[in-house]
């Protein structure tokens, strides 16, 4: 035991590996990247996402001679665990993870634990196309400053969807949702927090119901949690008896919601991915009678980011890949409803006419929402609210 700990501390004390330092000049980085293999750790649960990454792999191979390998994860935390274990085992320069698709919560903890490489995003030529000076969405993640440690990739926003053949008056707000649930018992549910889509539902409801909305955009420690959240718990207490399985059981995640919609158990659900419904209709998972919409007061939206671990073995190539994914061509490809259907993070004002045309040519998705409807974006609360809401929810509703 003692010797194990000794080995642990010795290995941690080793200096950082000196090899493969990343150059400061972009052309030199591209040159370094040639012939490298990038292990891109990204959630692999959706074939549309996987196909988009496969397309990108073909492109970077052709353009930059980079071998992009999609490591399909069931949960992003698997990659995080890997990096933690590598640091614990003293591996500081030959990490197995080169690029991770992270969410705001993962990012905040990775950054705090010093597990990220960077700042590197400022070096990407395509980053300026996002208009970072005027676009806080790409420089903060759950209100945590990004500080060049992760590159934006695509935008996501909560959309609700309902089945016209089963219900015809979908709710446009949380109070309406309560009324709707009373009339349609057992036909709505949300994933069990701390699953992130479930927590997102709590945040969405809280933003809409609380009397002190400003408190949500600062650290939770600075506000009176009980007072700010009281309307939320009151709402949930009333809502739960009318949920699916009377709230004695909750779906696991977004895909389970979609499956329950497809089976006809639910007639109203929601997703963090505006193109989910059109993709699912095309894939025979949902009937063509399903429509998506945005709540009257807008819905929570955020940006997906890409990060590089501190010990990644192929940092230059990872940067080149991230830069390619930010290119107008790759962004337009991913926004196409037949491919992935996420929304671009690029600012149209920064593009030239030819690049703009790529986006204007995109068809609007069937059963989906139009980009115009997605204008009403509500910002994510400060990252610290996530943990506090999840803990409070579990205390109230789990295990008695």
């Amino acid at each position: 035991m003692k010797s194990t700990l000794l080995a642990l501390s010795v290995s941690l004390a080793l200096p950082l590996g000196s090899h493969a330092a990343v150059s400061d000049e972009w052309p030199a980085i591209v040159e370094q990247a040639r012939g490298q293999t990038v292990y891109f750790n990204a959630w692999g649960g959706e074939s549309n996402t996987n196909n988009t990454i496969r397309w990108a792999a073909g492109q970077v191979e052709e353009r930059y001679g980079i071998d992009l390998v999609h490591v399909k994860l069931g949960d992003t935390a698997e990659a995080v665990s890997r990096v933690v274990a590598e640091k614990q085992g003293g591996n500081t320069s030959e990490g197995a993870v080169d690029l991770i698709w992270v969410n705001g919560e993962n990012f905040a903890t990775l950054k705090e634990a010093g597990l990220l490489f960077g700042p590197w995003v400022g070096q990407l030529p395509n980053f300026s196309l996002t208009d970072p000076e005027n676009n806080p969405a790409v420089t903060t993640d759950f209100t945590v400053p990004v500080e060049g440690m992760e590159a934006p990739w695509g935008k996501a926003q909560v959309v609700f969807y309902y089945d016209k053949s089963l219900t015809d008056n979908p709710p446009g707000s949380m109070p309406e949702l309560l009324e709707w649930a009373q009339e349609n018992p057992g036909e709505f549910s949300y994933p069990k927090p701390p699953q992130f889509l479930g927590t997102t539902f709590l945040k969405q409801a809280l933003i809409e119901l609380t009397d002190d909305g400003n408190a949500l955009y600062g650290p939770v420690a600075e506000s009176d949690f009980a007072a700010v959240t009281a309307p939320l718990w009151n709402f949930l207490d009333q809502l739960h008896p009318h949920l699916w399985r009377s709230a004695r059981n909750f779906p696991d995640n977004g895909p389970s919601l979609r499956r329950l919609m497809g089976d006809g158990e639910l007639s109203l659900a929601f997703s963090f991915w505006p193109a989910e419904v059109p993709a699912a209709i095309a894939n025979n998972e949902l009937p063509p009678t399903v429509e998506s919409y945005v709540l009257d007061g807008g819905t929570i939206g955020n940006v997906s980011f890409l990060a590089i671990p501190f010990n990644a073995q192929h940092k230059s190539a990872a940067m080149v890949v991230a830069n390619f994914l930010l290119s107008p061509e790759a962004q337009a490809y991913a926004q196409h409803p037949d491919n992935w259907g996420f929304l671009t993070v690029l600012s149209m004002d920064q593009l030239d006419a030819e690049q703009k045309a790529l986006f204007e040519a995109l068809p609007s998705p069937k059963g989906g929402v139009t980009p115009a409807e997605l204008q009403q974006v509500v910002e994510e609360p400060h990252a610290s609210w996530v943990e506090a809401l999840e803990t409070a929810w579990l205390e109230r509703y789990s295990g008695n």
């Binding site: 035991m1 194990t4 700990l5 080995a7 642990l8 501390s9 959630w43 692999g44 649960g45 074939s47 490591v71 399909k72 994860l73 069931g74 935390a77 698997e78 995080v80 665990s81 890997r82 933690v84 274990a85 590598e86 640091k87 614990q88 085992g89 003293g90 591996n91 197995a96 993870v97 919560e105 905040a108 903890t109 990775l110 634990a113 089963l166 018992p185 069990k192 701390p194 399985r245 009377s246 004695r248 059981n249 696991d252 995640n253 977004g254 895909p255 979609r258 499956r259 089976d263 006809g264 158990e265 894939n283 025979n284 998972e285 009937p287 579990l394 205390e395 789990s398 295990g399 008695n400």
Partner: protein, 558 residues
Amino acid sequence: MLRLAPWIIVLSLVLPVVGGTLLTVPPAFGYLPVLGGDDWSFRPWLELAETPGILRSVAVSFGSGLLATGLALIIVFLFLSTIANTRFDRWIQRLISPLLSIPHAAAAFGFAFLIAPSGLLLRWLSPSLTGFERPPDWLLLNDPFGVSLISGLVVKEIPFLLLVSLAGLPQLNAGQRVMLARSLGYLPRVAWFKAVAPALYPLIRLPVYAVLAFATSTVDVAMILGPNLPSTLSVQVVHWFNDPDLTRRFLASAGALLQLLVTASALSVWWGLEKLIGKGFNAWVAGGNRQRSDGTLWLAGRGLMLIATLLPVLGLFALALNSVAGFWRFPDAWPGSVTLSHWLQALPDLARPFWMTMVIATAASVLAVAMVLAALEHEQRLNRPATRALWLLYLPLLVPQVGFLSGITVLSQMAGQAPALWVVVWAHLLFVLPYVYLTLVEPYRRFDFRWVILGRSLGLSVNQAFWRIRLPMMLRPVLTAMALGVAISVSQYLPTQMLGGGRIVTVTTEAVALSSGGDRRLIGVWAMVQAITPFIGFVLALLIPRLLWKERRGMQAL
């Protein structure tokens, strides 16, 4: 060299398991400098005690494990007491291997789709018999008492217990025992329970323990079938390990150790029950009562086994159906349209993981068989058990995976080992070896040693006797053990993903990643592939001896 075999086995299994488990101890007591834990404390344990619903989580893990194991064992024994080489019996025995080869997660998915309120069974009955136009809002799946979890586990563990029982039975002369008891006036089933069961149980005891340990600590099955408010302890621990908040890893480590305690106490309770029931059983046998309830036993044994076999077969059928289904909503009994698009979509992704799976599975099971044969041959030559330490072989099956796998990853990093094929093969070996040993040990010890003596008298050396007499005569059990090894290796998810660093892609890592997307059709495709892969192994194990001994009728009977 042969002398070292048992020790090589023990070391290559025990070191990683013990080392991995020990590495979870410091974080469980707050010590993990990488994540800012610089002081030892009981804080993770206090946090664990304050987790909402933790007692319930523990109770469900503990209770469902014991109940599932007990029920599976009872059903297997009831069935064995009625076994009579009828067509039904041969049919069941032939189904064991394919059923064993279905990975747990795939089987659980199939089972869930069968019994859900919008599942296959209710689709078949609705709306004509039930009147349901929409799926009823019933809490059948993921019920808070773990009934669906227990049923799923029972169904999945029966084939394994049946396999080890059937392997053990021949050395008991079960037929003659029953005949003797019947000549004393006992009815056939009662005769079996009084004369065969008490001798059979000790032979399958360790496998039963392995089942119990698995049932109390399963993650994938409990995620799909278990309760979720709160989840079972093992599922909670995995969630904590996966929490974006890295400080949860302290709690997760404490939880992993608690899981170890829960499994250990379930094992000791079982051991206590064994003693208790053994006493009662002895009294019952010695009492000499000629029960008349024989018919009930027969009906129960046959009926329950029929249900337990039909359910997974139907579940697999349901998955296959989903893999080619177009849009298919409750209450339609069949998909409205059939399409190959899900298969065609998956096909380009299939080849690489498939071959990787085959390479790892073959390597792990060949290694395992070689090591086990070496150890057993050594034992035979010594004519006594080589080392009592060989029970340690079961350690990887008895210690919950969540506890030691992350530790092993750290160990491999300390050794400066980048993710590599051999590390993954080794990790698979941890789980393959015990099962290979389990299936091979009885046939090996049962082998009539006089054949070897005869060979020696004809001038063969000890080694020649092994290669030219024993091995050919034991080809069938050796190949079966190898096929089971392949099946076990194919189903490993966590070891592959963690030690392969995500770079080693198998059919199972691919299937699990895709199933997190919840598309039942895609899950159907990958689950079928996952089930077919080990099945190839079982088919080969059956075919090879048949082809090899085509001209030698005497060998065919072996």
